[in-house]
């Protein structure tokens, strides 16, 4: 079964993807409707008002803001005195399609009673004429019955008298409707020059707060604003109501009633708020000021290790907390120091990377830093202090204190000079790599080979004893011949005879084999059959030798003359060995 398993396996085939499907997968947003006929509305909010009371002339066009060619002046009666124009755009979802909605808002304060109409007029959107319908406003006298004030945003700032660069909180609030329904805000925007809005510090909530003397649920959009210009500034807010279309995180406190049905996008604005921005005082500025304004507290700086080597980086962790815009906190610039290389950690400031360039330093460099406290109006010193370190490298340490007290109490240290040479060698190169040592190792090898050869030869000679006998005979014959020569030279005939007999016996002994002394003349003669002269010489020599046992010994002086014949006999016998 296991062997058959691979046959049952098939490669996975990817699903077929039709052309354009991938593109559709990537497009998750519904299409923007720009093809439908553009419609427009124009109303007064409220349509009935009093002389001197504020009302808004609101025009909405369901086209993109950039496509609408809005006239500089609208055809309004002069006594309506239209104020500053505010405009905004929101994207609304209609029948599954996104459709832009642009709103234009004019603040109007009528000065006379009566019924007024702003006639219809034409604007161009998407290159086509769009008719803005007429809008009627009824203005009553001041003594008439009170009318409902127009719906407006409420703008609240935490500070109205700030320093340049000092961030402050801004709250854009939308009070609940008369039916106590809370609506969300979309496309909230702060208008005005000389400040920047921190979009990363926004927060949305629904809270019940005291508004005009009564508790009222409100949708609150909160953000941080930083002034970048001095002098009197004006700030106002605008947004669209969006029903229950809450976007992003929101915290809701208390009981809230949400409107039902589709959202109604109504363009609202707030009354402007004046802000006074003062420049930072130049007197008393401390080193290391990077524009940090607020009440900051520095945590104790933390060094990763206080024992360093030259050129080795170490992390210095520095933390700040307190009141102020920490998100836009600019860390102090690292000072220039020839003995240290200092790099600020980016992008999020967590501290510095310090690299000692010499071992002469004993502390990390102090990094000057200061912040401006707007409450006291003074600069506060927040310099990162120097920390003690031990840097090694150029001059290396001779002792290190024990790190782990539990393991050992004895510090690591450099030993003293040793007074003895200790173990010596001729070279540091090991014998394994020296040629002569391999030669030395060949000596036992050669010895063993020689021993083996000797044993082999010995066994061969033991199997062939005639070789040994012949070799011994040759050796003994050589010795006897020398003695023979000496006897001839000395003129000693008896010795000559004896050595000649001995030599002949030795020369023929291996042929029998027998001890040389056991051989007689006949044995020698049996090997000398070719030359009669030599046989005669042998007989004479053996006869002379035997005569020594006779009662009267014959003179043997003449035998010395047989020296050459004896030599010839011996030569012949030796040749047969």
């Amino acid at each position: 079964m296991l062997l058959l398993a691979p046959l049952l396996l098939h490669a996975q085939t990817p699903p077929t993807v039709l052309p354009g499907s991938l593109m559709q997968l990537q497009i998750t947003q519904p299409a923007v409707d720009v093809a439908s006929p553009v419609t427009a509305t124009a109303t007064f909010d409220p349509p009935v008002t009093q002389v001197g009371a504020k009302t808004f002339y609101r025009v909405t066009v369901d086209a993109t803001e950039s496509s609408i060619e809005w006239p500089e002046k609208i055809p309004a009666p002069l006594f309506l005195l239209p104020g500053a124009k505010t405009q905004g755009q929101v994207m609304q979802t209609v029948n599954g399609q996104v459709r832009p909605l642009t709103a234009f808002l004019y603040e109007v304060t009528p000065t006379t009673t009566g019924r007024f109409t702003i006639p219809e007029f034409k604007v161009r959107a998407y290159g086509q004429n769009v008719t803005i319908p007429a809008a009627d406003l009824e203005v009553n006298s001041e003594n008439a019955a009170p009318v409902t004030p127009p719906r407006q945003l409420v703008l609240e700032v935490s500070e109205t008298n700030v320093f340049l660069g000092e961030p402050f909180r801004v709250r854009v609030m939308l009070p609940s409707s008369p039916a106590n329904e809370i609506e969300a805000l979309r496309e909230t925007q702060l208008n005005g020059d000389g400040f920047i809005t921190d979009k990363t510090a926004t927060r949305q909530s629904v809270q019940t707060i005291n508004y005009n003397g009564q508790l009222k649920p409100m949708f609150i959009f909160e953000t941080t604003v930083t002034p970048i210009a001095t002098g009197p500034l004006t700030i106002s807010a605008q947004a669209f109501t969006a029903g229950r279309e809450f976007s992003g995180q929101i915290s809701i406190t208390g009981q809230v009633v949400l409107p039902g049905g589709a959202a109604r996008y109504v363009f609202l604005v707030s009354d402007p708020v004046a802000i006074k921005v003062r420049p930072l005082p130049s007197a008393g500025e401390l080193p290391g000021f990077t524009g940090a304004i607020g009440k900051f507290i520095m945590d104790p700086p933390l060094l990763a290790t206080n024992r360093l080597r030259v050129g080795e980086p170490v992390q210095l962790k520095v933390g700040f907390h307190g009141e102020g815009n920490l998100a836009r906190f600019v860390p102090p610039e690292p000072p220039r120091d020839q003995r240290w290389q200092i790099i600020a950690n980016r992008p999020q400031f967590t501290g510095y990377t310090l690299i000692p360039l010499t071992d002469e330093v004993q502390t990390t460099p102090a990094i000057p830093f200061s912040a401006f406290d707007p409450e006291t109006g003074k600069y506060v010193d927040l310099t990162i202090p120097a920390l003690p370190v031990t840097v090694t490298g150029e001059g290396l340490p001779v002792e290190i204190t024990a790190f782990d007290e539990a393991k050992t109490n004895t510090p690591l240290k450099l030993s003293d000079l040793t007074m003895t040479t200790g173990k010596t060698a001729t070279r540091l190169k090991p014998l394994q790599l020296q040629g002569w040592f391999i030669g030395v190792q060949l000596v036992p090898l050669i010895g063993f080979i020689a021993l083996w050869q000797w044993d082999r030869r010995r066994r061969f000679l033991a199997a062939h004893p005639e070789i040994v006998r012949r070799r011994k005979a040759k050796r003994d014959l050589r010795r006897e011949k020398i003695k023979l020569q000496q006897a001839v030279a000395a003129g000693e005939a008896a010795a000559f005879t004896q050595h000649a007999v001995n030599a002949m016996q030795i020369a023929v002994a291996p042929h029998f084999p027998a001890h040389p002394q056991a051989l007689v003349c006949g044995d020698v003669l049996s090997l000398l059959k070719e030359s009669e002269r030599n046989r005669e010489t042998v007989r004479k020599i053996f006869a002379a030798a035997d005569s020594q046992f006779a009662i009267t010994q014959p003179t043997q002086a003449h035998l010395l003359s047989l020296h050459s014949e004896v030599e010839a006999v011996l030569q012949q016998l030796e040749a047969r060995l």
């Binding site: 080795e312 173990k423 540091l428 394994q432």
Partner: protein
């Protein structure tokens, strides 16, 4: 012939006795050799021959001792440069674990961590049980945050004994085993179990020592970076791209040589390094 030598020794003793320990040690050694030859009953030519050979051998050690003593004296005076030179000469004349340990100490004092680590490793190469070399290496690696060279298993085994002892042990065990097998039939000794046990034991020891000897040979390629911030290059040229920067005392293994460069493997990768910036345990 011994008489002129005695005269020379006496003259040397008279004139140079106050010049310090090394010369006195040399003279004392020569005197010992002469007395030993006389005690053996050697006549004048034989004694002269013995003394001549002994002098040849002792001259080397005497020279080593001279440099060694000079190095200690200079180190005590705080003159570490001269001390280093003296210990280097001592090592050049005859490598010894003591001179290498002292050389490492004075190099460390001079701030040359790489040269110090190399000297102590060489001392441990000569004598794996040298306590001073081991202590100083441990200290240096802790202080300078250096790694030990990574050894393979057979290289670890090779550190249990001095390198030369391994090879002698291998030779002795091999020939002992061969002898135990060959000699009995040659000399017609009676077959015995003890001889066969001896042969088996010899072969066993030989096989083990082969791996240790392999480790010794392999360890000769280990070296240490001698200078600070040495560039490890992609090619063996001074314009080669720098792959990494090595610190002094960092261990590495030499793989091959080209021109004035070694191709080495370090913990940070492989690359080329100038030969002058890298010291091998076995510089031959």
């Amino acid at each position: 012939m011994t008489r002129p030598l005695e005269k020379y020794l006496a003259a040397g003793r008279a004139t140079k006795s106050g010049r310090g320990l090394p010369q006195s040690m040399t003279l004392a050694r020569w005197q010992c050799v002469l007395n030993f030859a006389k005690r053996l009953g050697l006549r004048q030519p034989s004694a002269a021959l013995v003394v001549a050979f002994a002098c040849l051998a002792l001259n080397v050690t005497a020279g080593t001792n001279d440099f060694f003593a000079q190095g200690i004296e200079a180190a005590r005076d705080g003159n570490f440069s001269d001390a280093a030179a003296a210990f280097q000469n001592s090592v050049k004349a005859q490598p010894s674990s003591g001179a290498l340990v002292n050389l490492g100490i004075v190099e460390w004092r001079r701030g040359h961590a790489g040269a110090a680590v190399l000297a102590w490793e060489q001392a441990r190469w000569l004598d794996p049980f040298d306590p001073w070399a081991m202590q100083n290496l441990k200290f240096a690696r802790t202080a300078a945050q250096l790694d030990e060279p990574e050894l393979r298993w057979f290289e670890v085994a090779s550190t249990w004994l001095p390198p030369n002892l391994w090879v002698w042990l291998a030779g002795a065990s091999l020939w002992l085993a061969v002898g135990a097998l060959i000699l009995p039939p040659v000399f017609r000794w009676k077959k015995s179990g003890s001889l066969q046990t001896l042969a088996a034991l010899g072969f066993g020891i030989f096989l083990f020592t082969v791996t240790a000897n392999l480790g010794v040979v392999s360890r000769t390629e280990i070296g240490f970076v001698l200078k600070k911030n040495v560039s490890l290059r992609l090619t063996p040229t001074s314009e080669g791209e720098v792959i990494s920067t090595l610190t002094d005392g960092e261990p590495a293994r030499k793989l091959r040589t080209r021109g004035n460069y070694f191709f080495i493997r370090t913990a940070n990768g492989t690359g080329w390094i100038e030969q002058t910036q890298f010291g091998l345990i076995n510089p031959d």
